[in-house]
Amino acid sequence: MTMPGWLRSIEFAVDLSFVNAKGWFLDLLGKFLPGWIVVLTSIVISGVVILCMGPIIMMYLTLLERKLIGRIQNRYGPNRVGIWGLLQPIADGIKMFTKEDIVPANADKLIHLLAPIVIVIPALMVFLVVPFGERMTAANLNIGILYFIAVSSITTIPIFMGSWASRNKYSLLGGMRTAAQMISYEIPMTLSVVPVIMMSQSLSTNTIVMTQCGDVDLHWFVFTPWGLTGFMIFFLCAVAECNRPPFDLPEAESELVAGFHTEYSGMKFALFYMAEYMNAFTLCGIATTLFLGGWQGPFLPSWLWFFGKTFLLICVMIWFRGTFPRFRVDQLMGFAWKFLLPLTLINILVAGLWQFVPERTAWLYSVPILIVSLWTLVKLNRHFVPEKRAYPLAD
């Protein structure tokens, strides 16, 4: 796209404004202080920005969700606390801070305390590899995606800790179900990322975004058959990883009281809540980097594109919440193991085909393969009615 030179320079300036601001500040420091303090400060600035941005994003995400769900359900969301309810998250925060922290008498106090703390850590650590803009990845690791998958798989352990330490049968059931759901959905999620890694020849998130660049015709991975399938699978697994409806059986209010966070109140519950929403945000962020082209986009600054695409995906997650009933636990597991997993394997096959065959014929081969496999899997997964239990002593 040809743009006038002055517009282009303005675009660059706005695009790199945060990076330039940080660089200017570090230069300023470098005049007075020795080099190692500047390096440390650079790390600390990234860390502090993430630590501030994460909870603020989470707070306004909760407000966005309540307003959107309200509109879907034909009612206003919260609109009393500020205009459009903009101060509602602050009111919620004050409420969470000042609630009494109740620990069950029989609970394992140390683990009850540690579980919400440990669950927030992976949620925050994933922010390191998310490329928010052109040069705005906090840590450009060369194992970026693997780091993301590894760190988000740690999340199952604090769920166990939380459910076990509460000494409550509902918590235990909820915790087991959550853990089972999370590890089942990690596998299709990881496998659906593999075609992206194959195509971009690298695990680094920045490189993956750069591979999807193109000026006019967008080379986003979602516009290819394997990319589209991979995106759908990744998105569904992301919704399941965050325990969001329709996959929210672990914290289903009508069935398990509140699942593994039943016995938590006040700030500890706020930490669980925060971890869930930050997880949702980072998973959507990673989905946009992997499949939707990250911060690529024609006119607007790169971080604006990134946040726009991520919020679009978050709105889709909220839309799912307002639309679908909950999965039953056997349907949940069956969906992951019997439907998504074979589909990811076929997706990898198709992506491999794409790599070695020129583009036109690749479309000709991959689309029928994917459609046929999808149809076969649907037919094989038909309508399962669990067997009726016989209660011999009841008659």
Binding site: W36, I111, I143, L146, A150, S153, I154, I183
Partner: protein, 173 residues
């Protein structure tokens, strides 16, 4: 900048010490769940040590496989046993002092062997880093046979687990 490297070195030593402490916790704590969590901490600490030795891929895989999957399995297994709430697991018995003496002797011998072996630590070996690409090429190139065997074993284990866990077909009376 040397301050940073010295600081990093101290940090790694502290992490190693913590790993040893948690490992002791695994074998001496009386509450089984706590010792499982100490094991998770040991594995995370080991991954940090890998990171300090610049083996980033191995560190990530360690966390993904060990902490994400194996620990989940261990905790599931622990949760399905009984008597977990009470602190009744005794970790020592009457033979413990003799065993500790034997262990100390073993550590001494192993330490001697480690310190006296001429390890092939050359400048060239230290300078090469492993990349994911070279690992992938090696797995698919020179080590493809073990790779396939491992895959077959995993499938056999999976099928075996499913068969064991399946309900037996009930005989209709």
């Amino acid at each position: 900048m040397e301050i940073l490297t010295i600081g990093a070195k101290f940090g790694v030593y502290i992490v190693m010490a913590l790993v040893l402490v948690f490992a002791l916790g695994v074998v001496t704590l009386r509450n089984l769940f706590h010792s499982a969590l100490c094991l998770a901490a040991v594995l995370v600490g080991t991954a940090t040590v890998y990171l300090a030795l610049r083996a980033d891929f191995v560190a990530a895989i360690q966390i993904l496989v060990y902490v994400g999957a194996v620990m989940t399995l261990i905790i599931f297994a622990i949760m399905l046993t009984e008597h977990l709430g009470e602190k009744t697991i005794r970790q020592t018995n009457r033979q413990s002092p003799a065993a500790i003496l034997g262990l100390l002797g073993f550590i001494f011998m192993i330490g001697l062997v480690i310190l006296r072996t001429p390890w092939p630590v050359t400048k060239r070996a230290l300078a090469t880093g492993t990349s994911v690409m070279s690992l992938g090429k090696a797995l698919m190139g020179s080590y493809v046979f073990p790779f396939e065997i491992i895959s077959v074993i995993l499938i056999a284990a999976l099928i075996g687990a499913v068969v064991i866990a399946k309900k037996d077909p009930e005989e209709k009376s």
